[in-house]
Amino acid sequence: MSHLKRGATFLLALSVALPAARAADDVITIGACQPITGRFAFAGVALNAALVDFVAYANEKGLVKGKKLAYVFEDSGYDTDRAVACFKRLMAQHSPVIMYGESTGLGKAIAPELTSRYKVLYGSTSFSSELADPKTHPYSFVSGPTYSDQFGILLEYIARNKGAAKPRVAFFYSDTEFGKDPIPFARKRAAELGLDVVAEVVTKVGAVDVTSEVLQLKKTQPDYVIFQGYVLAPIPEVVRAARDFGLKTKFMGTFWSMDKSIIDKLGQDADGYMGVNPYAYYYEEGAPGIAAMRAWNQKAHPEEKYRPSSYIQGWFTGMVYVEAINRVLAAKKPVTGENLAAALDAIKDWDTGGVTGKVTFVDHKAGVGRVYRANAQKGVFEPASDWIYVK
């Protein structure tokens, strides 16, 4: 029975250890429930690495005057039940004033308690427009434009670059929250800009056989197809099949389908693939913010030659945290979730050193992004527009 006894001792130790000591005054703790395993791991690993790196970078450079940042994280496996447990454990154990969450699902599930009890600033992986609503989610923010804003940027780009004829647009999306989130707004915005929405194609995520969907595109002959709700599959399949059918359509994506991996997957067929990215790419020149990130990585992780877009997203979220903290400290107020959320609202025309455009938070989101076009020869995305701002 000795193993039983040992188990009991462990559990006892655990229950004693859980309500651990609170952090010292000069340390500001950031907690994170990261999707390091599970379906979202492709981004979660990089997002977490980015926040680990940014906090180390901020501490070394002394970005927050007189205080140190601490970052505690936990894997939550992209599972809402577990993520809520993770959130509560980190809150109980470390009482952070800032939290980072793994999914839209966690943002929605924790919202009532975040508003009534925890009151901490909450950033997340999500670009869902639902979380960018200060009325229902006073402590949440989206680190960039929502999916709706990203569609707004693409549609604006199309409207600005139209020829004599009215551009024909098609939306190609998955039947998930991620896929459907911006579609109602996109329909409305397209009508306002005088664009014809000629087709809406809905598929499952990762659908393999796309012949009938591509035939639908062939029948309706759109000038532009915008993908939403996918990361890779079936985008490469659709683009290839459309080329085989001889379609002249230009294909576009939003944030998650704008990483370099899609060019690697498409090879030469990637030429002309476009989309919106709220952030600059890791290899871009002429952006001091990105250069500083590269310099830090060369020093801390010499083996890493490339960082994906999700890494930039995580890094930028860290920058937002620090900016909000510094504004609160400058106003000589205590660093609390309420003050941080208020400081966030006040951020206007903030220069991020080219990591993204000038940032103004309206409704707890920053409506800025840039259209990029793939250069298959070089295997990179190149800017096709300047920063485009939407409300």
């Binding site: 894997d75 809402t80 447990a85 509560k88 929605k108 599930a109 639902e130 039947d175 929250e177 459907k180």
Partner: protein, 347 residues
């Protein structure tokens, strides 16, 4: 030492809690359950609440699989039916949880009645596939019947209120959830020793023989499906008040399979086994996570190896348990009890 248990009436032989020792322990457990929320933190309370809801749904599945020998891969969908019914009644019709949670149970029960119909003709793997269809159909309906279910965004539910006090934190939710769970566990324990419960077991052990002794197969199997999905529906109703939001992504096929695992790991047909299975499936990943957290303090790069490894360890643990104790954790518990009861005469 206890050497025997002399019973004079059939009633005492059939009692749910048979010996004074068991009754004593149950009282102790009840007292501990009342004290627990005042000493535990948010995190532990949340986990215990979550396990309560999961155990309730798993118990439903155990009635179907363990008692009656039928199988279902659509259990998460029934839970979804209960959740959505409760959420819709609470938000659109302003019903209080006293009515909306039972209504969720009844709606799931009706759904289970329909899905259970093929069980008369098909069994085993074929029945599994038929219930899988129910899972897919309900999931599709949750996503696409937007006017009713709110589509992919789902429904946000206001907290339940008792005498005007909102049940909005884990401690208050604890009392609501554990009370409902306790009542339903007692009901299930009583169901097993009723006429219907014996009919379930008869159908499981040999359905033709059961029919010969006068058990109506169709009614019995349908009833098992109804009871099973009723439990899932009640669990779903509790869950929606607990999480305060319901979306189609909350009831995937993987959740149905997780329930199946809880029942099998815990012990088929065992009521305490259901609890053991739920605790095992919920706590082991959390403890492994804690272990990786501790390891990180000594070895900072551990995460990249240990996080994915955790799922492997969890899988291996399940396999090991099934190999060394095919009757589940409930049987281990029984052996442990025997060990203490017979000590020092048996090793």
């Amino acid at each position: 030492m206890l050497i025997g248990n002399y019973k004079e009436t059939y009633a005492s032989d059939e009692a749910v809690f048979r010996t004074p020792a068991v009754r004593g322990w149950m009282v102790a457990l009840a007292v501990a359950a009342m004290v627990f929320p005042f000493v535990a933190g948010d995190y532990l309370l949340y986990l215990v609440n979550l396990m309560g809801v999961l155990a309730l749904a798993a118990l439903g599945l155990n009635v179907l699989i363990g008692f009656t020998g039928q199988i279902s891969l659509g259990h998460a969908a029934f839970m979804g039916v209960g959740s959505y019914t409760a959420a819709i009644l609470a938000t659109r019709f302003g019903l209080s949880f006293w009515l909306s949670i039972p209504a969720g149970g009844v709606a799931a029960c009706a759904a289970g009645m329909i899905v259970g119909v093929p069980s008369l003709r098909i069994r085993g793997l074929y029945l599994a596939i038929a219930t899988l269809a129910a899972q897919v159909i309900f999931e599709w309906a949750f996503t696409n019947w937007t006017s009713v279910t709110g589509g992919i965004r789902g429904i946000n539910v206001p907290p339940a209120r008792i005498l005007g006090a909102p049940i909005d934190d884990d401690r208050r939710a604890y009392f609501l959830i554990q009370a409902v769970v306790a009542v339903h566990f007692l009901l299930a324990a009583n169901l097993r020793r009723s006429r219907w419960g014996r009919a379930f077991v008869a159908v499981r052990d040999r359905d033709i023989a059961a029919e010969i002794v006068g058990v109506n197969l169709f009614r019995t199997k349908i009833l098992a499906f109804m009871v099973s999905s009723y439990y899932a529906g009640i669990a779903g109703g509790l869950w929606v008040y607990f999480m305060k939001v319901v979306t189609p992504e909350n009831f995937p096929l993987s959740l149905s399979i997780q329930y199946l695992a809880m029942v099998v790991v815990g012990g088929l047909g065992s009521i305490p086994g259901t609890i053991f299975g739920t605790v095992f499936m919920t706590m082991v990943p959390e403890l492994l996570k804690l272990g990786t957290g501790l390891a990180r303090a000594v070895w900072p790069d551990a995460q990249s190896y240990l996080f994915p490894l955790r799922d492997v360890v969890f899988g291996v643990l399940i396999v090991v348990f099934l190999i060394f104790e095919p009757h589940g954790l409930a049987e281990m518990w029984n052996r442990l009890k025997r060990f203490f009861a017979l000590w020092p005469f048996e090793k």
